[in-house]
Amino acid sequence: MTARLARWSLLLLTILLLAIWIPQAKELLFDDRFGKTQLFYSPVIERFVYKELIGEGHQFVYRDQDGTDYDRESFETLIPFIYYKNMELWGRLPLVLGEHRFDKAAIVAERQVMEFKPQDLSDQTPRIQLFPLLESNPERARLRFPEDIMRPGERLDFIDSDANRLDPELTRTFTQALEQAGFRFPVRAAFGRVSILKAFDAGYFLLDSGGALFHLRRLDGAPEVAAVPIPEGIAVRDIKVTENKRHELIGFLLAEDGRLFLMTERDHDLIALDLPGYDPDRMELKILFNPLYRTAVYSDRETIHAVVMDRDYHPIDRYARRMAMARERPVDRVWEMLVPFNLNLHDPDSRYLSLDVRFHGLAAAIGVAASLLLALEILRLRGIRPTRARMDLLLVLFTGLYGLLALILIPPEHGLET
């Protein structure tokens, strides 16, 4: 009895390990360099244009949404704000678009890229909840890390990094400042950008126990706290702070209901983004700024979407296309026929490892049938009647090639038939 349990434990273990590693081996063998499509809005032809790799090597296409192909240089001239340095080289600056005229300084002043990826979400990335609260007014060119770290919790602790000890003075000062501003402890979440390689320091946004949002900075060593008024009906899920020298926006605010907002730097006003089909848990989002438009481009691993907006974030036009990288390759089709499922260890949208099962549906029936036939042949060779190995066959039926390989590695034994 226990020997039978032992064999089945090993079979199960073998199958699970195979279902993780064989698909990884397949990726290693057959992965190609198809990246995501690069999608832009051309202020020149007022159409969406894209650059896409469609085959092995360097088979790029430069195309607009109507299907017109361009050579590389023409393509770049269609998106001159992106390739402004080339424009300068090619003597095409200042740029004239309709009645507008842009020199290099004007372009540079308006350029910005904001990114929001699934991995930026707090629940997709493990994070030790200790954050350095930088001096926002460093009175010198560079920011620097303080010798203490902030621990949001029942109070706002500060821990001296040299002594690895609580700094009671700082803790009291900052906790009191928050309380006086109406902050209700404990801190539910802290959002900020931990870096000294940024234009300036915007401090942290702290969510209190009641869901109210506060902005905290360290200014000349002292706390500066401000309540951030959030419109009714918006519950904060996440905030990504992106300090930028344009000083227009301070970052993204994602609501619990999935709506995404931009937050202005000065008044912390929220600007709703109308992004049809956007899923923050699965899609990477980029917002490209230029003197005329803001283009939100977001994609999972199949479809890329773009919404072009005016300077006030009103949508003008939108476009979506299935990317070349999502095209099913023959090897994928064969693979889906070969094995009934994959176990994926790495989720590209998360820093956490996961064990997600992906079933291949009916296509796998072919592989399962072939595996069953081979399993019957193996039983015949070992002199075991199929009726005495029903469970083994059932296992192959459910797990296909993995089960067959497990059966070969841990074959049925006399006395342990099922």
Binding site: L130, I149, I159, S161
Partner: protein, 221 residues
């Protein structure tokens, strides 16, 4: 009877276990000195920045120690049983074979577990000297798959050592390596947090599995 079974296992592994204890203590002392050195040559706030934001792991010295120890304890326990077929002596004892093997691996796992406990406690303590408790807790969570690697290596080596057929041994070794590789996929801290329960469940399958080679040993043709 249990006392006698444990006595034999202890006699087999005592020197190896003692040596492993010294190696583990030595590695912890090394970790302590390395960490101290780090804080001597760098500013504390920068090290904290690396550790928390850049996710640099400052305690990888002990990463493979549990797996290595697991394999060595298994070799010390089951090598002597396999030499000259001494396993037959045990199979002739008036005890159920499966219970006997479980007692063996139970003891081996316990002794490995004690070293894992030492590693865990040492790691927590060393990290706590220079970092807030959150970092120590995080280090412990990060080290969990490494400690599980000890369990996997111990049981994998046990499978391979108890197995009477030469052809089957590489299969067990391969499965063990595939499992160990699964535990070595992280780059930063706590990346295994969400799959530790599944991986632990998977590793628990090894506990009943060790009966199979023992069964095959007895029932060879």
């Amino acid at each position: 009877m249990l006392g006698a079974i444990i006595l034999k296992e202890w006699l087999k592994i005592r020197w190896v276990w003692g040596a492993a204890l010294l190696v583990h203590l030595g590695m912890l002392v090394y970790l302590l000195l390395a960490m101290r050195h780090q804080f001597q040559v760098e500013h504390s706030e920068m090290i904290w920045y690396w550790a928390f934001e850049l996710r640099r792991l400052l305690y990888t010295q002990i990463q493979y120690l549990p797996a290595l120890t697991g394999a060595v304890i298994a070799a010390a326990q089951f090598g002597p049983e396999m030499l000259g077929g001494r396993f037959r002596l045990s199979l002739h004892l008036p005890v159920r074979g499966d219970l006997l093997v479980w007692c063996w691996v139970g003891f081996g796992a316990l002794m490995g577990g004690l070293l894992a406990l030492l590693d865990g406690a040492g790691l927590y303590w060393i990290i706590s000297i220079w970092f807030p408790r959150e970092a120590a807790e995080s280090a412990l969570l990060t080290a969990l798959p490494w400690l599980l690697g000890g369990w996997v290596a111990y049981f994998g080596a046990t499978l391979a050592l108890l197995e009477p057929s030469r052809a089957r041994r590489p299969v067990y070794a391969g499965l063990t390596l595939a499992f160990l590789a699964l535990l070595d996929q992280g780059h930063g801290y706590q990346e295994y947090d969400r799959i530790m329960p599944q991986l632990t469940g998977l590793a628990l399958l090894l506990l009943p599995a060790v009966i199979l080679p023992a069964h095959r040993y007895r029932h060879r043709g």
